[in-house]
Symmetry: C2
Subunit: 162 residues, 2 copies
Amino acid sequence: MTLEEINALPDSDFVERLGDIAEHAPWVAARAALDRPFPDRDALIAAFQRAIVDGGVFRQNELLGAHPDLAGRAAIAGEVTDASRREQAGAGLGSLTTEELNGAYRQRFGFPFILAVRGADKHAILASFEARLEGTPDEERLTALAQVLRIVRFRLADTVIA
Amino acid sequence: MTLEEINALPDSDFVERLGDIAEHAPWVAARAALDRPFPDRDALIAAFQRAIVDGGVFRQNELLGAHPDLAGRAAIAGEVTDASRREQAGAGLGSLTTEELNGAYRQRFGFPFILAVRGADKHAILASFEARLEGTPDEERLTALAQVLRIVRFRLADTVIA
């Protein structure tokens, strides 16, 4: 889609087309639609991100919880195999499988481990997982929200021609 | 200091002793002091972090701005030398010096690049710098705040006997 098309859509069509940009959270697109017309794609991205930042704790928590487990995502399951975990057995959590890491994270924080993996290699993903498992709930909430914003940016960049 | 000593301090002494845990922001300690007594060190850390999260945008921005540039910190200046930057010249921003990266970051976001470097090697620091320079202001504000919370946690862990 072009930005021109996006600016011209009726609100309901805008939400239908972009409602999944934020994971299972069409309210983000519904809020962003009100900021049209967007002069450029960065403004569109900013409107989606701002909607999340201003969305309030309840909706933010719902949005965090709606993200799939990293282990449940095929691309990552391929990237971070249990075999590769075991190779890293020296590094503390290294002996845990991805599924076990996900379980430990979700149990500690109440939402899944969220990471915008684009550009991150296997090593970076695992290092991030281990560092974040040691964080506090307040640290992780901010970090996870930042990752959600980042994912939204990547998805809009893939969906809308600049 | 022990947790027992911390719980027993008059408020003003508490702020005097722990006022620098959050960079140039004694209001964080002043707020946390009200939550005493703390049953354990994690509760102390949570109180400091919560004070920042609930501190409001104005004070949070002041706190972000009060942090020193990464390049200005001797330990990092030693870790991330300009020579090492040049070694990475293939990686986009790799040809920039740490000082140039800091300048670009501060110009884009209005506050210095903040990273809790403990446990991060040179490669991780540079990778983080480059990824974050591409972020949006909303992403970076959340990410930087999370790093501030993390720094506060490390400092309290160094200061207070568990």
